[in-house]
């Protein structure tokens, strides 16, 4: 570890420091506001430090980490998302009696785990990041101890996550046994000349896919998703839906790009099946669902399916598309769960469809934001979701993944149904809608409302003028050139 390594790892160190500091503060004095501020500051600090790293060369901390444009982009995304989620958590937890302070420690740690995932280039760091993320999540999911569902969700997630971790570990062990190295580039080097993968490797990769697939909640490892989404507190759900999946996806991209997994038909086939199954299962399951959090859970399953389409494109355009889509998806999901958080009261989360009836007339702005988020999920123009979907389709068409693209289109239509059903519920005439039992002081809600407003504006901005974001993504990803893949000189002419 040299000094320069510290420089590069500083964002993560800030997070660690923040977590420790929070712990200390909790030990001294339990004060929601202080803890909240400390958390926010450490996230912001960490994020700001990223600007220091921008424009610098790709840096490798041997043998575990690599920090490049891609990593910075994903870390930044993760940090911002965590920040937004913690902003919205304040109001949510303020109206609940439980001890709220440890929540922020866990959030910081989980964020740290996710950030570790996206910079890791070694099985060990991968495993560490994953487990830091997972173990924090167990606690986060069941954070509201008094709620039966929280506990149920926690235990389900714990057992399943542990099982999937076991698969992942075993798979890593097999790969290690086969190649004798645990760094990504080492593995890549050892199979670089291989036309076909050895059996051991295939089994290993297969088992790793299970572990990864679980975190991404793709079919057939998706079954925990609705239960956990429903049981967890709304902000935590948002966190699982975004940060946890984003981190894992970042890792997957890095690993696959490095080892050029797309050369192997078997892996591509597996991912194709998984993608199609996820799209269908997610959308079909959501179709008649009446619990909003579960709808969003199923919708996230299908969205991961969409993302896999771009992933399977397997080139720079695909990575850009994934990244762009992730940004849009993060904004949208956080926004949607933000609305759920806003509408929740001390009794429980606002998750039944009935809670949203006539929302457009009761709370027009909230409803408008929610509508925008849903339309973005559905991929309707003027929202970021549309550009994201467009990007993914472009990647798919470019690589001529006609089957996947067709399935994506078909599923977009199926998915549309439940999104607009939700919207329709919102503009139905309210029939003595259930008002929140007690409303918080407006000043507390201000942070949430402000965050939501920012998210909505961002959503529209990206939807209407995506150039800036596209530039940013291209700028950060292209020089990273994770793979020297000459077969994808795309879009360069238009630049």
């Amino acid at each position: 570890m040299s000094q320069i390594d510290f420089h590069y790892l500083m964002p993560l160190l800030i997070l660690t420091g923040g977590a420790l500091l929070t712990m200390l503060v909790v030990a001294i004095k339990r004060n929601h506001k202080i803890i909240y501020v400390v958390t926010a500051l450490s996230l912001i600090g960490s994020f700001l430090y990223l600007f220091e790293l921008r424009g610098l060369q790709r840096h490798v901390v041997e043998p575990l980490f690599v920090i490049d444009g891609f990593a910075i982009l994903y870390i930044g995304l993760t940090l911002l998302t965590s920040l937004v989620i913690s902003m919205m958590s304040y109001a949510y937890f303020e109206q609940r009696e439980e001890r709220k302070e440890e929540y922020y420690i866990l959030i910081l740690l989980a964020t740290l785990g996710a950030c570790t995932l996206v910079i890791s280039k070694h099985f060990a760091s991968l495993f560490l990041g994953l487990e830091v993320l997972s173990v924090s999540l167990y606690a986060l999911i069941s954070y509201l101890r008094m709620r039966e569902r929280s506990d149920e969700a926690g235990i389900k997630y714990l057992i399943l996550a542990a099982v999937s971790s076991a698969f992942l570990l075993f798979g890593m062990a097999l790969v290690y046994a086969s190649t004798g190295t645990m760094t990504f580039e080492g593995i890549a080097a050892s199979i670089a000349s291989a036309y076909d993968l050895p059996l051991l490797m295939l089994t290993g990769f297969g088992m790793m896919i299970i572990g990864v697939g679980f975190k991404l909640s793709v079919v057939p490892f998706h079954m925990w998703t609705p239960d956990v989404y429903e049981g967890a507190p709304a902000p935590v759900t948002a966190f699982i839906a975004t940060v946890s999946k984003g981190g894992m996806l970042g890792l997957l991209i890095r690993l696959f790009m490095q080892v050029e997994g797309f050369r192997f038909q078997t892996l591509v086939l597996i991912f194709t099946i998984v993608a199609i199954a996820s799209m269908f299962a997610g959308n079909l399951l959501a179709l008649m669902q009446r619990n909003v959090k579960r709808i969003l859970a199923y919708s996230s399953i299908s969205h991961l399916g969409y993302l896999l389409v771009a992933f399977l494109a397997g080139n720079e355009l695909g990575v850009e598309a994934i990244t762009f889509y992730l940004v849009a998806y993060f904004i949208t999901t956080v926004g949607a769960f933000g609305v759920v958080t806003m509408l929740s009261d001390s009794e429980g989360d606002a998750e039944q469809l009935e809670d949203y009836r006539g929302l457009l007339w009761r709370r027009p702005w909230t409803a408008a934001v929610f509508t925008a988020m849903l339309l973005s999920l559905a991929g309707i123009p003027l929202t970021a979701g549309f550009v994201g979907k467009f990007y993914i389709l472009a990647a798919g068409v470019n690589t001529q993944l006609w089957l996947l693209v067709a399935m994506l289109v078909l599923n977009s239509v199926i998915g549309l149904y439940y999104y607009i059903k939700l919207i329709a519920v919102m503009f139905q005439q309210p029939e003595a809608g259930r008002e929140p039992v007690e409303r918080l002081r407006p000043s507390i809600l201000l942070a949430s409302a402000g965050t939501l407003a920012v998210l909505a504006l961002l959503l529209l901005y990206i939807g209407v003028y995506p150039t800036g974001l596209v530039n940013l993504i291209e700028g950060l990803i292209s020089p990273a050139t994770m793979v020297q893949n000459p077969s994808a000189p795309l879009l360069e002419a238009a630049k």
Partner: protein, 102 residues
């Protein structure tokens, strides 16, 4: 030592892993499920050690220690959760925890 082929070690690990998996599937008591998961994790650890032995590297051992640590953390959180769940459900039957479905 060296005349035990790596495949045999991996096979052992695989069998262990499968046993753990089967017992997760058939056990209803949550504590037993947790234990079964531990078996799976340890099977993975064993596989790492076998692999490390093949390549004569310490990396596998390091991984095993990571796994142990992580398993401990997991179990501690898990037990806390189980306690809480037992408090609410008055049972350790995992099938009883099915309030959320559909």
């Amino acid at each position: 030592m060296t005349n035990i082929p790596m495949e045999a070690g991996l096979l052992l690990a695989g069998i262990l892993f499968t046993l753990g998996l089967i017992s997760v599937l058939i056990r209803r008591n949550i504590i037993f499920m947790l234990i079964s998961v531990e078996i799976m994790l340890n099977a993975a650890g064993l596989a790492f050690i076998v692999a490390a032995t093949r390549w004569a590297q310490p990396d596998g051992q390091v991984m095993f220690i990571f796994i142990l640590t992580m398993a401990a953390a997991e179990v501690s959180v898990g037990l806390a959760l189980i306690l809480q769940l037992h408090h609410q459900l008055k049972t350790l039957d995992s099938d009883a925890a099915n309030k959320m479905f559909g």
